[in-house]
């Protein structure tokens, strides 16, 4: 490849110069604030102000108090369920768009899939309340069909409703990375598999699936990490049994004004998510090595 006359040194410095505005912005408004809440999580909440003395009491409270521990474990469970549901349901759709849709119409399909993701998240969550509620779509439908005699009450205000609503909200996020991975698969590999006498299903299991794994791993992480911090869904459809860690953080910060404890909960949640993500990456590492 032809290089321009300017040397590598100036290339590095112009690159750094160019990237500096967004980098400084992220450093000041993201990295520094994150460091601050980590610091705060080791301080003590005093009356009206934060006492700057090192303590582990907030973490003790977060991990030992059954109230906080239950919510933390529930958030984790919800995230795992949502991730599993989203990725499993999304895979066939991504497979269909990548392998069976005419190339000229692929962008249209992707566009149709992503649109709901960008439109009024709050109102979509609220509509799930309408769908699953006592007089909701599901109940009135089942009643009019004569399948049930009185409205089902287990649909709303519990962990189930939170999982359903979140799985719906994050569905498009799961499809895109899998689709991108499937698009990269060399189609001649699949033909080779079948020429060598494999059935279609065996080819899928032994060729397509392993090659699609990087996309599946990306989907899992892109759904799992933000889900654990979702505030709106548990607040609107979760009821008292469906509260998640974000509701707890909001409570500590905006209602109880206990920043150190709120920070400890937030940092713990981030830590758990980071550790689980790293373990997951470690387990799937053999699929992630670049082919060739």
């Amino acid at each position: 490849m032809k290089r321009s006359a300017r040397g590598a040194g100036t290339e590095a410095s112009s690159g750094l110069l160019l990237v500096s505005p967004p980098a400084i912005y992220a450093l000041v408004l993201l990295a520094a604030p994150l460091a601050t809440i980590i610091l705060y999580s080791f301080f003590t909440d005093g009356y009206l102000e934060v006492i700057r003395e090192f303590t582990l009491a907030n973490y003790w409270e977060t991990w030992v108090n059954p109230l906080y521990r239950t919510v933390m474990l529930r958030s984790l469970l919800v995230s795992v369920l949502v991730t599993a549901a989203t990725v499993l349901l999304a895979f066939p759709v991504a497979y269909f768009v990548s392998f069976h849709v005419d190339p000229s119409r692929k962008s249209l399909w992707l566009f149709l899939i992503t649109i709901p993701f960008w439109t009024s998240y709050l109102i979509r969550v609220f509509l799930w309340k309408v769908i699953l509620g006592y007089n909701g779509v599901v109940n009135s439908g089942l009643l009019s069909l004569g399948i049930i005699d009185e409205p089902l009450t287990f649909l709303l205000y519990n962990t189930n409703s939170v999982v359903i609503t979140l799985a719906h909200a994050y569905a498009p996020f799961a499809i895109l990375p899998i689709f991108v991975a499937l698009e990269k698969i060399d189609r001649s590999l699949l033909e080779a598999g079948q020429d060598l006498g494999e059935t279609k299903f065996a080819t899928f299991c032994r060729v397509t699936l392993p090659l699609a794994m990087p996309g599946v791993v990306a989907s899992v992480l892109i759904v799992f990490i933000p889900t654990i911090g979702d505030y709106v869904t548990p607040q609107l459809v979760g009821g008292p049994e469906g509260r998640m860690v974000a509701n707890l953080i909001q409570l500590q910060y905006l209602r109880l004004d206990n920043y150190p404890l709120g920070s400890a909960i937030a940092v713990s949640a981030m830590g758990i998510v980071a550790i689980i993500s790293l373990i997951f990456l470690g387990l799937t590492r053999r699929y992630l090595r670049a082919p060739k």
């Binding site: 410095s13 980098a23 912005y25 994150l34 692929k106 649109i115 009024s120």
Partner: protein, 268 residues
Amino acid sequence: MKGGWFKLYALAYLVFLYAPIVLLPMFAFNDATVIAFPLNGFTTKWFSEMWVAPGLWPALKNSMIIAISTAVIATALGIFAARASTRYKFPGKAGIMGLIMLPLVLPEIIVAVSLLVVLLGIGVPLSIFTVILGHVLMTTPFTIAILSSAFQSLDRSLEEAAYDLGETPVSAFRLVILPLVMPGIISSLLISFTISLDEFIIAFFLGGTQVTLPVYIFSQFRFPQSVPVIMALGTILVALSILLLSIAEYFRRRGIAKSGGKDTGGFL
């Protein structure tokens, strides 16, 4: 027929995705204060009530100021980052880009509370301005994703030709590169505008007493009698965002076609 079952499944999946959005206009035009089935008859009164709803117009004004500022600032930052990452090699590139892209996966509540602590700590009063700071942070990764695909498909020899014809790097950027990535820029402006208009958590934490449209909507959910008006408002908002996204998609595709790239689909 190829993919028969898959097609059926994919269509069912689309129905699942669109189910709540389809319900929205049904309730917006339904003549009943209770949001439930069966429907009660057609009315447009919720739309006319929307015009006089207290607090809605100030919230809309705040949201517009925030969304327009966010779109402009985030796209400007996105241009720098996308240009730097697609054109140059520099030390620490992966780390720097990773930090800038981090808000894409970080739970929003974490971004919101950490900014809240710092802003209150250094004594910045909460206002529209602090919401803009947070929204720019959240939307910049999306603008980079869109703009990178525009810059990526750019033919390097066009730029070199401009240098050979005596242009400086700045004038070559303005005269050659900028027109070619313009569709990507428009797409990025529209997407960041849409995200900001719809964002709730950061506006809720950092807005102080200044309410945005989503914060207003959230507060109205507590009053059952005002929910039909919110359904009407939601119908308009959803229609508006679908329109904006369609325009954004049009420009994104045109941008990729213009700079000679291949469409790999999707905003991400």
